[in-house]
């Protein structure tokens, strides 16, 4: 999972979204089609060409007060239209840590 923070050239190979962390609390957020941010992946604007991805990222990055560290992340569109994170890193960001947090007493 090479850190996408290193993302330089933008070339996408499949459906993608723009994600970031919300400035005031750090929560994982996705750029919506209404120039806002949502904590739900289902609300994300989905892009499928590199040009659209670049435009969405530029628009998102301009909103530095709303969220920080915006980058493009892959998603999978399942049959029936539901959206899933496209890799393990994004899965963890969307669903939380893969470990049971409670230290057994």
């Amino acid at each position: 999972m090479t850190s996408p923070l290193e993302q330089k050239k933008i070339r996408i190979t499949g459906p993608s979204v723009v994600t970031a962390n919300r400035t005031w609390d750090g929560a994982v957020v996705y750029r919506t089609g209404q120039r806002g941010w949502s904590t739900e992946l289902v609300d994300a604007a989905i892009v499928s060409t590199s040009d659209d991805a670049r435009a969405l990222l530029a628009e998102s990055a301009a909103d530095d007060v709303g969220a920080v560290g915006a980058y493009i992340a892959p998603v999978e569109i399942k049959d029936g239209g539901s959206i899933k994170p496209g890799n393990l890193r994004e899965h963890i960001r969307a669903k939380g840590v893969t470990i049971d947090l409670r230290v057994p007493a």
């Binding site: 750090g26 929560a27 960001r93 230290v103």
Partner: protein
């Protein structure tokens, strides 16, 4: 215990108000993230996968019960009810909201805790032996020197804008518990032939992308000269250090490129030329700092109290005592390690309830003092032996009496892909699975001392290079893979482990480690031969064969 002076207190509270203002300006949009980033990093705030991460320093690993309760409070009030103790005597909170951070900092400031020097290209938290001041046979308490160095380097302009971050560790015991050989500067306190106290000075250690073991540049520097000598090292580093390339900026690279002899000569030269720059420590200055460390009023107690004799009939207690209780310099007392490595739990995590419970137990049994070690465990440094049975029961009730200290399940692991934005692969679930595989503490006891260290990327926060078994997460075609090394060690004989072969996928790591351990059990020439010694004697080949023959 250490008493901060007024200057420190004023400094800490000024920093909190300053940061409160900066956060306000960030949230209103007055500051951009680019402008704000350096400010938040100066206060220990990173941005991770799910949230901001907040790193708090625990200077030389010494905490009061009051401070630990404040950390518990931060975990409960501002985070998700737990904290993660790191390998550098820090604690990290993983879910802090930026908007609430100034409040968290203010609450910690009340008990003299801060997050300065936990990030950025400056002098970091000067670490030391977690048994400082209580270990038998220690030359003297190394924390006095950590503190002298801390005072000298905190916010000192020359140390605030270094080519790269800079870490110092100090030990005063034969057995190095502070891992000084993997620090930028390692200091070993010892006495010269005339009985004077001073330091062996080692330079250029570090892990990460280009790991190096520190080498000695001067066998003895008198204690009174240590600040000026460190200053000379820093000057040479500032003069040559590569600011142009982040991967080459650490002092270890400079030492490697110049060669240790040349580097040592340059430092010596600089030191002579500097002359007296007002850094020579006089007796009074050293004693002033010494006097601010208070030691408990120990009682005169028997070596073997009745309570302990009776409890010895309980095999569960005995197993824990033999594993987690260590000799103290004062008769009748012990040092007790509290394992933060329960079977199936994330290494180094403690819940707010556990922190509160430990604080209470420290008040009752350890003169209100707690220590944080680099193995991600805690310790109670002054426990009367007669109290051990009662302490054991109390610890067991809160899940802090796992008898696995220094054993195969006492794993060091970085946060990895579950939290860290730099990770290639997960670390914690690998550790959890391994603790389940070796869950039988009696079997683990038979295997003996074995340190498994796991990092989720080459930054090596989990010290994988120096694990007896090291596990490093890498990425292959978007999948998690792990490179496995054996034979590393972090003590006075520090060395890097050797890779045993191609990386293995996530699902196979625990099997591979089991194979390695089984191979060791078959190969060791007697039960006392430690894993690392068997690897040293036989090399990696027999282990490689065992692991890859069937894969």
């Amino acid at each position: 215990m250490y008493a901060y002076d007024e200057l420190d207190r004023t400094l800490i509270s000024e920093r909190v108000s300053e940061f409160r203002d900066q956060v306000k300006r960030r949230l209103s949009g007055e500051l951009t993230e680019d402008e704000f980033k350096i400010l938040r990093l100066q206060n220990g705030v990173y941005l991770q996968l799910h949230a901001y991460m907040f790193r708090v320093a625990i200077p030389y690993g010494t905490l009061s019960s009051k401070q630990l309760r404040a950390l518990a409070h931060v975990a409960r009030r501002y985070d998700r009810g737990y904290g993660h103790f790191t390998t550098r005597q820090n604690i990290q909170f993983n879910w802090i909201k930026l908007a609430e951070l100034p409040d968290a900092l203010a609450d910690l400031a009340e008990v003299g805790i801060h997050a300065m020097q936990t990030s950025g290209n400056n002098m970091r938290n000067v670490t030391s032996d977690q048994w400082a001041g209580v270990a038998p046979g220690e030359i003297e308490d190394p924390r006095i020197w950590s503190e002298l160095l801390r005072q000298h380097t905190t916010l000192h302009p020359e140390f605030s804008f270094l080519p790269r971050k800079f870490k110092i560790a100090i030990t005063a015991s034969e057995h190095d518990r502070a891992a000084i050989k993997i620090h930028d500067i390692g200091l070993r306190l010892h006495k010269n032939a005339d009985g004077e106290t001073g330091f062996e000075v080692l330079v250029g250690g570090g892990l990460g992308r280009t790991p190096f073991i520190a080498k000695t540049i001067k066998p003895f520097v008198h204690g009174r000269d240590i600040l000026s000598y460190v200053e000379a090292i820093l000057r040479v580093y500032n003069q040559y250090g590569r600011r142009d390339n982040i991967y080459k900026a650490r002092i270890k690279i400079l030492v490697h490129e110049l060669g240790i002899e040349k580097f040592a000569r340059e430092v010596e030269e600089e030191w002579k030329q500097m002359g007296d720059v007002g850094l020579t420590l006089d007796h009074a200055a050293i004693e002033e700092v010494r006097s601010r460390f208070s030691y408990p009023a120990y009682e005169k107690l028997p070596h073997m109290p009745d309570e302990l004799k009776q409890a010895a009939h309980d095999p569960v207690f005995e197993r824990w005592r033999k594993n987690s209780v260590f000799p103290h310099k004062v008769q009748g007392y012990s040092i007790v390690t509290l394992s933060l490595k329960p079977v199936g739990g994330p290494p180094g995590d403690a819940t707010a309830e556990q922190m509160d419970a430990i604080a209470d137990l420290a008040d009752r049994y350890s003169f209100g003092e707690i220590r944080v070690g680099h193995e991600q465990n805690l310790a109670l440094p002054h426990v009367a032996k007669r109290d051990l049975p009662a302490l054991f029961k109390a610890l067991d009730r809160v899940g802090l009496a796992t008898p696995n200290v220094n054993l195969v399940t006492d794993i060091i692991a970085c946060p990895g892909l579950d939290y860290c934005s730099l990770a290639n692969a997960r670390s914690i679930p690998i550790a959890q699975e391994l603790t389940r595989r070796f869950a039988n503490h009696d079997t683990a006891g038979l295997i003996g001392r074995l340190h498994i260290n796991i990092s989720g990327c080459i930054n090596a926060c989990g010290h994988h290079h120096v694990g007896h078994i090291g596990i490093l997460g890498v990425e292959k075609n978007g999948e998690e893979f792990y490179q496995i090394t054996i034979g590393g060690r972090a003590d006075e004989n520090a060395q890097m482990g050797t890779l045993i072969g191609p990386a293995v996928p996530y699902a196979e790591v625990a099997d591979v480690i089991e194979d390695i351990v089984e191979a060791y059990l078959a190969l060791r020439d007697r039960p006392e031969e430690l894993f690392v010694d068997t690897v040293k004697r036989l090399g990696v080949e027999p282990f490689r064969e065992r692991v890859y023959a069937t894969r």
